[in-house]
Symmetry: C2
Subunit: 329 residues, 2 copies
């Protein structure tokens, strides 16, 4: 029996659609609140890719798919829900008002999570009568495959809500990471943005193209990041003397004027156009859905490759598969 | 027949040792110049791990190993060499003087490459009589597994030297990336440093531990970076409207005060100690060599997983395997 009864999702964009797919593929019924008349078509496309990826990931013993309902009526969506995941546009006031409404409409004991990639839970819960059950649960695209979900509580979030969320996301095959201090953009997005900003400078200054930068990542450091992150990789790079040696040797380099850390590149039309042209060229005429499929196949292959090693995302997958087996017996 | 006759390596540290392993495992004889009395012991340990990883990567049809000679005599090392790779400490004057000596001692047509992770080739070639044959060829740890090598020419580097280096590194199963404009730290290290600097801030400010930061990478974005880099991933994240939409939506976030971009954290003893303690805890009592083995096994598994997809590092591996087969028939 799942820890989730009825799931209500607010918003069916790239992230909300990904949540819907993960829940449905885990056999959970989903009511999706989305006023967009295109919502059903978009969800259908997401599910086509997600179903294929999930079947590759878990060839045997998958739960039977949950039932999807799409509605433009918020009260209908959250009525009777035990778990609510919001993935609306990133505007504070919009989200605050949405949570105030949901707070009044949903059952008292429903857990309410926001997919925001940067807004603070303390601000998100400001207009709620029962703010203790709200937290941020920030996932990563594609939500139906990547294990990470960052959990961030606000000043009024109850510790029990965090614990409940941990259990819930683990039951969906995910890896919850509790971000212990409330900070804008949390952990992963700050790291991604630091990398992205430097990458934008390299394109703007004509040092490298989008493709060259992607190659510099995926043929080198990206393969290390995927399984060990950055600290443990540098720990090993320090050789026998480990991290202390590494920091002594490479720490000072941070003071050299290597990276464009003092400013943010101006997002001119010209820069946006240059990058869009370069990424189009890189995509080589493949459609968005085709690229998505390639990405998903690669993610599945990497996670499965790490599974026998019981390492990183492979360890999460191994545990998830055991859970699914347990659910059947 | 290899494009490399005799290879001379200057310096047998983590990088130089990794080069030695890649060359030896490709059947090439190596003379290693290293005055360190511990050089033979260290090389023995590197080869133990590298041999295992390479046997996992290429279970069948490996070339027979080349012969390793270690010498403290520079003239002996470079005499008759067709290819010279320098991996000495990162001090400009030391490298300049080394290259001036090598320039005089080595055969006129020897290709000379530097493993520097940041110094400019124009400066490295300053004291050479035949600077046209020097370039930077910057590899990534572990050199015997990761495909990427950044090639950077200086003002006096001949275009033919770059072309010759490309052929040479491809023959070793690598992916040369020509960095078209000379810039400190090239491409990959700038990206890694941007990420690393942000990570250091997060630890310094007590937001997250080294392990939590590594988890935020390896369970999420790291899995995407390993196969697509950053631009193509964001292109997909933009949904049907692609990169233009993504930039319009997320570009402005770069102007928010999310990341600590204005300064560099002070590398106090306390910060170094905190990070070293956290990475030690994360390592869970595993030795450096043990961690290295785990990392290598994971890298092999990821590259092999991508090979049937003919994608990224998997495509390089596929081509390399075909080359090795071709060499045998």
């Amino acid at each position: 029996m799942s820890v989730i009864g009825k799931a209500a999702l607010l918003g069916g964009g790239v992230i909300g659609g990904g949540w819907a797919a993960r829940l449905l593929l885990n056999g959970i019924d989903v009511v999706l609140f989305d006023p967009d008349p295109q919502a059903a078509r978009k969800m259908g496309e997401v599910m086509t890719n997600a179903r294929r990826a999930f079947a590759d990931l878990i060839p045997e013993g998958r739960p039977s798919e949950g039932r999807l309902t799409i509605t433009a009526d918020l009260a209908e969506a959250v009525s009777g829900a035990t778990f609510i995941q919001e993935s609306a546009p990133e505007r504070l006031e919009l989200k605050q008002n949405l949570f105030a409404e949901v707070d009044a409409l949903a059952p008292e004991d429903a857990l309410i999570c926001s997919s925001t990639s940067g807004l603070l839970p303390t601000e998100l819960q400001a207009k709620m009568k029962r703010p203790e059950r709200l937290l941020v649960a920030h996932p990563f695209n594609p939500v139906y495959l990547l294990p990470l979900v960052e959990l961030v509580g606000g000043e009024k979030t109850a510790p029990e809500a965090i614990e409940r969320a941990k259990t819930l996301y683990v039951s969906l095959g995910m890896k919850p990471l509790h971000v212990r201090r409330e900070i804008e953009a949390f952990i992963a997005d700050r790291l991604m943005e630091a990398l992205w900003r430097e990458a934008l400078w390299l394109v703007k200054d004509g040092i490298a193209s989008a493709e060259e930068i992607d190659d510099a990542i995926r043929y080198g450091c990206g393969l290390r990041w995927a399984q060990m992150g950055t600290f443990q990789v540098f720990n090993i790079a320090g050789g026998e003397a480990g991290m202390r040696h590494f920091m002594a040797q490479f720490g000072p380099a941070l003071k050299w004027p290597w990276t464009k850390l003092m400013d943010v590149p101006e997002m001119t039309e010209e820069l946006i156009e240059r990058i869009a042209e370069q990424t189009d060229a890189q995509a080589g005429g493949r459609s968005f859905r085709e690229l998505e499929r390639i990405r998903d196949e690669n993610l599945v292959a990497i996670m499965q490759a790490l599974e026998p090693k019981d390492w990183g995302a492979g360890a999460v997958l191994k545990q998830y598969r055991a859970q699914l087996r347990g659910d059947k017996t």
